[in-house]
C-alpha cells in the first residue's frame, strides 16, 4: 500500500472538505466523502466502509440527542398553531418603541430557553422557528434576524444544563457545579455582548432594525392577554425541570406535549397544522443528523491522522509562554470548530491540552468555560456551522445559507472579543 504521512492526510482533508463544499456538494456528503477517503488511505478500504456504515447508527441512537427533534417539534407546533404570534404581539406592543426590540427579545428568549435545554442546536431550533418569521414581518434585516438567533442559540450550551460542560467536567475531573456557575455567568455575559452587537447595528443603520408602531396602553394589555398559552407552556417546562420531575433531555418531549394540548384546547390544532409540524420536524432532522454524522466521522478521521498529537507536540517543544499557548489553543479550536462537531472535537483535544494546561497552572474550570465558548463559536462559523444549518432549516423561506453566515459575523466578532477578555481575566488571576 502507498504510504502517505497520516498528518499530511489530516491537513489535506481540511482543504478537501472546503473544496467540496465550495463546489456545491451537500455538506453532509462532503464530510462523508473526505472522511471515508481519508480513513481508507490510513487504515484501508474495509475499515473505512465499516466505519462509515456503523457510525450513523451509533450516533443517532442516542437518548441524549432525542431532545433535538423534540424541541424542533415543539418549535414547529408552536409556530404553525400561531401560539407564538401572541408572544411576539406582546413583545411588539411592549418593546416596539425600542429599536431592535424583537432581536433583543429573541436573544433574551434563547437565553431563557438555554435553561431548559442542554444543547445549542435544540435551543436554536426552538427559538429560530418562533422568532424569525416575526422579525421578518417587522421588516428586520433578515441577516440580523437570523444571525442573532443562530448566535443566541450558542448560549444554550453555556447556561446550565449543558452537555458540553458535563462531559468536560468528567474528562477534566472538575466540579460540574462550579462549571455550571461559570457557564451561567459566561452565558449571561454573552447575552449582553449580543445585545450590544444588535444596538451597534441599529446605531450604524437604523433602517435594518425598524421600530414598531406606537401602541396605546390598552393595546399593550390586550396583546399581553394573548400570551397565556406560552406562559402555561413555559411554566410547565421550567416547573417540571426545576422541580426534579423530568430532565433537560425529556424537556423537549414535555414541551411538545403541552404545546399539542394547549393548541387542542385553543382549537388551533388542525389536521394540516399537525401534518406540517411533523413534516417540518422530519425534514429538519433528516438533513441535520446527516451533517452531524458527517462531522462526527470527520472527527474520527482527524483523530486517526494524529494531527492533534502533532499540534500538542509542537506546543510542547516550543516552551511557549502561557499567553502564547492560549493563543495557539484559540487558533486550533477555531480551525477545528470550522469542521468538527463540538463534543467530538472536545474529546479529541482534551487529552492533549489538559496536561499542557496543568503544566502552566491554568485553572481547569476557567479552561472548561474557555473551551466551551470556543466550541460554541464553531457552531456558527462556516463551512460547517450546525446552529446556522438549524436556522437555515427552520427559516428556509426567509434567508439563504450565505445570508445567515454573513449575519452571524458581527456576533462572532463579539465572541472573539469576549474570548480575549477571558484571556485577559486569566492572565490577571
Amino acid at each position: 500500500m502507498l504510504e502517505i504521512d497520516p498528518v499530511f492526510i489530516g491537513y489535506f482533508s481540511l482543504v478537501g472538505v472546503l473544496l467540496l463544499i465550495m463546489m456545491r456538494v451537500p455538506i453532509a456528503v462532503s464530510l462523508l466523502t473526505v472522511s471515508g477517503l481519508g480513513i481508507a488511505a490510513i487504515v484501508g478500504v474495509e475499515s473505512a466502509i465499516s466505519m462509515v456504515s456503523t457510525i450513523p447508527y451509533g450516533f443517532a441512537s442516542s437518548w441524549t440527542l432525542s431532545s433535538v427533534p423534540m424541541f424542533l417539534f415543539m418549535g414547529y407546533l408552536a409556530f404553525h398553531t400561531g401560539m407564538t404570534k401572541g408572544l411576539f404581539a406582546a413583545a411588539r406592543a411592549w418593546l416596539g418603541w425600542l429599536p431592535s426590540g424583537l432581536a433583543i427579545s429573541s436573544i433574551g428568549g434563547a437565553s431563557g430557553f438555554a435553561a431548559v435545554t442542554g444543547s445549542s442546536v435544540a435551543c436554536s431550533a426552538a427559538i429560530g422557528r418562533i422568532a424569525i418569521p416575526e422579525m421578518h414581518a417587522m421588516k428586520y434585516d433578515i441577516r440580523v434576524a437570523t444571525g442573532s438567533v443562530a448566535a443566541g442559540g450558542t448560549i444554550g450550551a453555556l447556561i446550565p444544563p449543558s452537555i458540553l460542560l458535563i462531559i468536560y467536567g468528567i474528562q477534566a475531573e472538575e466540579s460540574i457545579n462550579d462549571l455550571f456557575i461559570g457557564g451561567l455567568a459566561l452565558g449571561l455575559i454573552s447575552m449582553f455582548m449580543y445585545f450590544i452587537v444588535v444596538w451597534l447595528i441599529y446605531l450604524r443603520s437604523p433602517s435594518r432594525l425598524p421600530r414598531g408602531a406606537n401602541t396605546t396602553t390598552s393595546e399593550k394589555w390586550s396583546a399581553s392577554l394573548q400570551i397565556w398559552p406560552v406562559l402555561v407552556l413555559v411554566s410547565a417546562v421550567f416547573g417540571g425541570l426545576f422541580g426534579g420531575i423530568f430532565t433537560a433531555t425529556e424537556a423537549g418531549a414535555i414541551g411538545a406535549f403541552f404545546t399539542l394540548i394547549i393548541a387542542f384546547f385553543q382549537g388551533s390544532l388542525s389536521k394540516s397544522v399537525f401534518r406540517n409540524s411533523c413534516l417540518d420536524t422530519l425534514l429538519s432532522s433528516g438533513s441535520l443528523f446527516m451533517i452531524a454524522i458527517g462531522a462526527s466521522l470527520f472527527t474520527r478521521l482527524i483523530a486517526l491522522t494524529g494531527v492533534s498529537f502533532e499540534i500538542a507536540d509542537w506546543i510542547d517543544n516550543h516552551g511557549f509562554s502561557t499567553l502564547i499557548i492560549l493563543m495557539v489553543i484559540i487558533v486550533v479550536y477555531l480551525a477545528l470548530g470550522m469542521f468538527l462537531e463540538p463534543i467530538g472535537a472536545m474529546l479529541l483535544t482534551l487529552p492533549l491540552f489538559l496536561p499542557i494546561i496543568a503544566e502552566h497552572g491554568i485553572d481547569t474550570v476557567w479552561f472548561g468555560l474557555f473551551v466551551a465558548k470556543l466550541l460554541e463559536i464553531g457552531m456558527i462559523t462556516p463551512p460547517v456551522g450546525l446552529n446556522v444549518f438549524v436556522i437555515h432549516s427552520v427559516a428556509k423561506d426567509y434567508a439563504s445559507l450565505e445570508e445567515i453566515f454573513s449575519g452571524v459575523i458581527p456576533f462572532i466578532i463579539a465572541d472573539l472579543i469576549l474570548i480575549m477578555l477571558m484571556v485577559g481575566y486569566q492572565q490577571l488571576i
Binding site: 467540496l20 463544499i21 465550495m22 463546489m23 456545491r24 456538494v25 451537500p26 455538506i27 453532509a28 456528503v29 462523508l32 466523502t33 471515508g36 466502509i49 465499516s50 462509515v52 456504515s53 456503523t54 450513523p56 447508527y57 443517532a60 441512537s61 442516542s62 437518548w63 440527542l65 432525542s66 427533534p69 423534540m70 417539534f73 417540571g240 420531575i245 423530568f246 425529556e250 418531549a253 414535555i254 411538545a256 406535549f257 399539542l260 399537525f274 401534518r275 411533523c278 413534516l279 420536524t281 422530519l282 425534514l283 429538519s284 432532522s285 433528516g286 438533513s287 443528523f289 446527516m290 451533517i291 462556516p382 444549518f389 437555515h392 432549516s393 428556509k396 423561506d397 445559507l401 450565505e402
Partner: protein
C-alpha cells in the same frame, strides 16, 4: 416516477409522524408514571434511542432530498452560467449517489449480521432486541440512493438535451425532473 415520489412522501409522513407522536407520548407517560405511580414505563430510553431516534434521523433523508433540503453552499457556484452550474450539480449528485450507495450497502451488511446474531441489549432484567432497528438505515439510504439516481439521470438528460431546467434547484420543487416527456 410521480408514483414513487408520492410513495416516499406518504411513507415519510405516516411513519415519521407516528414516530414523533409515539416519542412524545412515551416520554410523557414515562415521566407521569414515575411521578405518580413510582414506576416508569419499561424500556423508554431504549425504545427512544434505538428505534424512534434512528427512525427520525434517517427515514426523512430521501424526502429531504426530494424537497432539496440538504444543506449546500451555493455562493461559489452562483456566478457560473447555467451550463457550468449544471456540471457542478451533476458532480454533486454523482458523489452523493456513490456515498449513499455505499452507506446503503454497508448498513445492509450491518443489518444482516445483526439480524443473524439477533442483536440485543440488556434492559433491566429483560432482553431488548435491537436488530430490527438496524434495517431502518439500509431502507432509508436505499430510498435516498434511488432518488439521487434519478437526479443524476435527469441532470444528465438536461445536459445533453441542452434544455436546462432550474426547477430542480428550487427548494419547494416536489417533482423530480426526470425527462421532458414526463412533465
Amino acid at each position: 416516477m410521480k408514483f414513487i415520489e408520492h410513495a416516499i412522501e406518504r411513507l415519510t409522513i405516516i411513519f415519521g409522524s407516528a414516530v414523533l407522536v409515539m416519542m412524545v407520548l412515551q416520554i410523557v407517560v414515562d415521566v407521569s408514571m414515575r411521578t405518580f405511580a413510582d414506576k416508569g414505563l419499561t424500556a423508554t430510553s431504549e425504545l427512544v434511542s434505538h428505534y424512534y431516534m434512528v427512525m427520525v434521523s434517517f427515514l426523512p433523508v430521501a424526502y429531504s432530498e426530494l424537497r432539496r433540503r440538504h444543506v449546500e453552499a451555493t455562493i461559489f457556484t452562483d456566478y457560473l452560467n447555467l451550463k457550468k452550474r449544471l456540471v457542478v450539480e451533476l458532480f454533486g449528485f454523482v458523489l452523493s449517489v456513490l456515498i449513499y450507495g455505499i452507506l446503503c450497502w454497508g448498513t445492509l451488511q450491518e443489518a444482516l449480521s445483526n439480524t443473524a446474531k439477533g442483536a440485543y441489549i440488556e434492559s433491566g432484567v429483560t432482553v431488548f432486541y435491537t436488530w430490527p432497528s438496524y434495517w431502518i438505515l439500509p431502507v432509508s439510504f436505499g430510498l435516498m440512493t434511488f432518488v439521487l439516481t434519478f437526479r443524476v439521470i435527469s441532470t444528465f438528460s438536461q445536459f445533453f438535451n441542452g434544455r436546462i431546467d432550474t426547477q430542480a434547484a428550487s427548494p419547494n420543487a416536489l417533482n423530480i425532473t426526470v425527462t421532458e416527456g414526463e412533465k
